[in-house]
């Protein structure tokens, strides 16, 4: 799995970018437009496993984000608007991936949801209760593992429990249990520098789960891993998700990763970041790596890519699929321009960097 860059090459793209007018964003079909005030639409019938007995009594949480805005002061005085009017809802137990171009505020969004940054405007609530400041219901996994190098794996996992004032014996027992969950039981005594990148990230996930959060926020957790490790890690993450009662919001750069993991993929526009598309992933669970080679994935990936760029310079998926050639023609373009190389015709592997 490579980077989730849009792979439509060529001059046509550059020309379109030149002719693009700000605010000329295409209207989205109602079903695609994120409407947080509306009851969530089940986009597909998820193949849900029954909650495990041991997780059944844990609280579950949905995430509601409404009209979220955040800007940062800059040296020049004009604030940098990272996010403006972001709204979406993640029902409990769902996995939602956020993709978007570099610098569109994905990580900022995750920090706002986790309460690590104050919002300028709008609200974030978990299961109806607003998030104000770092929240005990949230477990955070960062891009880098952020383990403390002076602590061994088990002490790193126990860190949140220590902060929460749990007894030493409880901390040790729980941390060992979590290390076993992520498959690192024998590495309890290892220091971070003795672990591989993938192992470190698994320790970080175990740490995030220490206080039994109902929501797991992952900020590009795979970006430091090599391609093969990433794929296995995705499978691993889904297994952990199945064994814990968590709702997952994950930021990623990779479209295929987003599809493999998520029930829905939210596409963010370039700054100021907004949700420009909410694309369901109609893949059954449990997911298998072999599913990545199916047509459903290609079509979904194409839709995501079209929207990724659609925020900037590529035709909307309906146009790309030739559904609205007349519309394209009315804008003075070759109606076949977006259709010439149908996005879904391109094999999925192209994102590997062909």
């Amino acid at each position: 799995m490579g980077e989730g860059r849009a792979a439509r090459p060529g001059r046509a793209r550059a020309e379109r970018r030149l002719t693009r007018r700000r605010g000329a964003r295409r209207p989205w079909p109602a079903c695609r437009r994120p409407t947080p005030d509306r009851a969530p639409v089940r986009l597909h019938a998820p193949a849900r496993r029954p909650a495990r007995p041991e997780t059944g009594d844990r609280p579950l949480a949905s995430i509601d984000v409404a009209d979220l805005a955040r800007s940062f002061p800059t040296a020049t005085g004009t604030p940098l608007v990272a996010l403006d009017g972001v709204a979406f809802r993640v029902p409990e137990r769902q996995v939602v991936a956020i993709v978007g171009p570099n610098g569109c505020g994905k990580s900022t969004l995750l920090r706002l949801v986790g309460g690590l940054l104050p919002v300028d405007r709008g609200t974030v609530s978990l299961d109806g209760t607003p998030v104000v400041g770092p929240d005990p219901r949230v477990g955070f996994v960062f891009q880098e593992s952020r383990l403390m190098p002076w602590r061994d794996a088990v002490a790193n996992v126990a860190f949140p429990l220590e902060l929460a004032g749990r007894s030493a014996s409880e901390r040790l027992a729980r941390a060992r249990e979590l290390l076993a969950l992520v498959g690192l039981a024998e590495f309890a005594g290892a220091r971070p520098h003795q672990l591989s990148g993938g192992m470190r990230q698994r320790v970080a996930i175990a740490r995030a789960l220490a206080l039994e959060p109902s929501v797991l926020l992952l900020d590009e957790p795979f970006s430091a891993l090599d391609a093969l490790t990433r794929e296995r890690f995705g499978v691993e993450l889904l297994r952990i998700w199945q064994e814990t009662a968590t709702t997952i919001l994950i930021v990623t750069h990779s479209v295929s990763e987003a599809i493999f993991l998520a029930d829905r993929v939210l596409v963010l526009s370039p700054r100021p970041g907004q949700v420009v598309a909410d694309i369901p992933v109609n893949l059954p669970r449990p997911r298998r790596l072999s599913m990545l080679d199916t047509a459903v994935v290609s079509v979904t990936a194409a839709a995501i890519r079209a929207n990724l760029a659609g925020a900037a310079d590529e035709p909307a998926p309906e146009e790309a699929w030739g559904l609205q050639p007349a519309l394209a023609a009315s804008r003075g373009r070759d109606p076949l321009e977006g259709v010439g190389v149908p996005a879904w015709f391109d094999p999925f592997g192209r994102e590997g960097g062909a």
């Binding site: 403390m148 002076w150 902060l163």
Partner: protein, 263 residues
Amino acid sequence: MSLTQAQAPKAARARRLDPAPVLLGAVIFVVAWQALVWIGGYEPWLLPGPLVVGQRFVDAWLDGTIAPHATATLLEIVLGFTVGAGLALLVGMLLARSHFAERLLSPYLVAAQATPILAIAPLIALWFGTGLLSKVLICALIVFFPVAIATMVGIRSVDKRLVEMARAFRATRSQLVRQVEIPAALPAILGGMRVGVTLAVIGAIIGEWAGGERGLGVLINLARGSLFDTPLLFATLATIALIGIVLYLVVVAVERRMVGARG
């Protein structure tokens, strides 16, 4: 923690503890010293040879000439270092936290460090007497600067991402300091303490020169002056050097134990 230290590569550990280079260095030093005395034909009152000094060293320790002075000096060093390094830790953290405090205090810190301790010592002896207190103060003063600066730099350079991680898990202010910032800054702080502990030895000797009845600094004055016992002077110097080396090794050992292998 102890588990991974046990797993640490044995070879590296053995190399670190191998006494051969230390012994080799000592042999070369003693032979060169003796050679210098022979070739130069110096009198023992001018430059005693290593054998003479060694003999005097053993005698002076056995007949109780050095021991009471050494314990007095050691006490001054330990107290002075503890007070100085302890205060420096607190001030260093304050400096790291607040640029205002840094700008307010740093001129005086630098000035205090730049002024020769030899010039300040008589003044401190004048104000605080010639007892233990003035020596502890001089030690503390000389230890303060390197430890405070090392603490400030160490805490400032703590990885902001670790701080954010701790915040995400709802660390309180004091938890953040105790569980993240100090452990993360520990290598830098202990580096400052390595420098500080050797300076503390100097501080104690200078404090004793400025006035006092006991201590290795006093013994140096006695050996040089009224007793005119140059071998004893050298034996005292050797004692001071040994104290410095031992204290330095103690700090290094503490560092090894607390910092360990971080990779």
